[in-house]
Symmetry: C2
Subunit: 196 residues, 2 copies
């Protein structure tokens, strides 16, 4: 069990990974996801097809790898919020880490368009976001009052918040980025939670 993998190697691996993902994303944006083969991505990136599959478990992963990382960021940020803060406020603040990711609006729009434009990608996208739950729900649960159904409640809240973000995100894409993502998010949450 050589637990240490040499920090240099680990780092280059991360860099290469992100380079490969970016190459893929560019191609997907140009040619479309289904119309782009893994082979083409490999050639464009200057590696072998086999190596690509060493870095990513699947073609889909190539397109969606960033989502997993985002989930971790969000969960981490949520964990840093004061425990007595209103839950939905904490969630909103946690989601705001997305604004801190350095990426141009066009790039973001292109990426989102790729993701929503393909059925299987949309599915993977939904699933990956759903897995954000697994990270966030336990943190929420710790904040909830005792209840027989605490686990369920925590998961429901996490899922609902993520869903609102997702809905806002879709609308944002539909509006071609001509709106503030978090303004849309707030409207979504309000619609869901407002009694009546």
């Amino acid at each position: 069990m050589s637990s240490t993998v040499s920090p240099i190697r680990a780092q280059t691996r991360v860099v290469v990974r992100s380079l490969l993902a970016r190459t893929a994303l560019d191609l997907f944006a140009i040619k479309g996801y289904d119309e782009t083969t893994v082979e083409e991505v490999a050639v464009a990136a200057g590696v072998s097809r086999r190596t690509l599959f060493n870095y990513f478990r699947s073609k889909e992963d190539l397109a969606l790898s960033s989502l997993s990382e985002q989930g971790e960021l969000i969960a981490a940020r949520f964990g840093e919020r004061p425990a007595d803060e209103d839950l939905w406020t904490s969630l909103r603040m946690a989601f705001h880490v997305l604004d801190e990711i350095e990426i141009s609006a066009e790039e973001r729009l292109a990426m989102a368009t790729v993701m929503f434009g393909n059925e299987s990608l949309r599915a993977g996208h939904a699933e990956k976001q759903a897995r954000w739950q697994d990270l966030i729900a336990p943190l929420i649960e710790a904040r909830l009052p005792d209840s027989e159904r605490r686990r369920l409640e925590a998961r429901a809240i996490a899922a609902a918040a993520i869903t609102c973000l997702q809905t806002a995100w879709e609308e944002w894409v539909r509006l071609r980025g001509q709106a503030e993502l978090f303004e849309l998010y707030d409207a979504a949450v309000l619609a869901v939670r407002d009694q009546g």
Copy 2:
């Protein structure tokens, strides 16, 4: 555009389709989704591999075809609810069509276990449910008061309700069916919508 395809043919097609899906589901439950090839399903059903793909667009469809139909049932039921009824009540009632589907508890549990037990299936499942939105959201929108963001609000509400159902469903599987699905659903909705 020969819109009429002979009612007999249409009907047999539906029957065969559901027979094939059932065969597949049985195999998936026994051997596991990834461990079962389309070839095996074809053999078990007594048709050719190619024919299977005439009835289903993909292996995933073979496992998830029922979900699309469920979405249509729910939307239809929602459309029948009185327009002045509380939105969330209407949604709850609409979801109740699921209880009317004739299927044993064990079968239902087996099916759910298959769906949640495999990553790509879970993704497809999430996506298919997300597409329920497209059916339900327009109906919700018609009920909402005028607002700049009506479309977004309707989609958010639909998505949140479906997500609560999904969360309840997952919990139900986790509890091995030892709970009332709609009791769990109510708890989920309450947790999300309760202020504070």
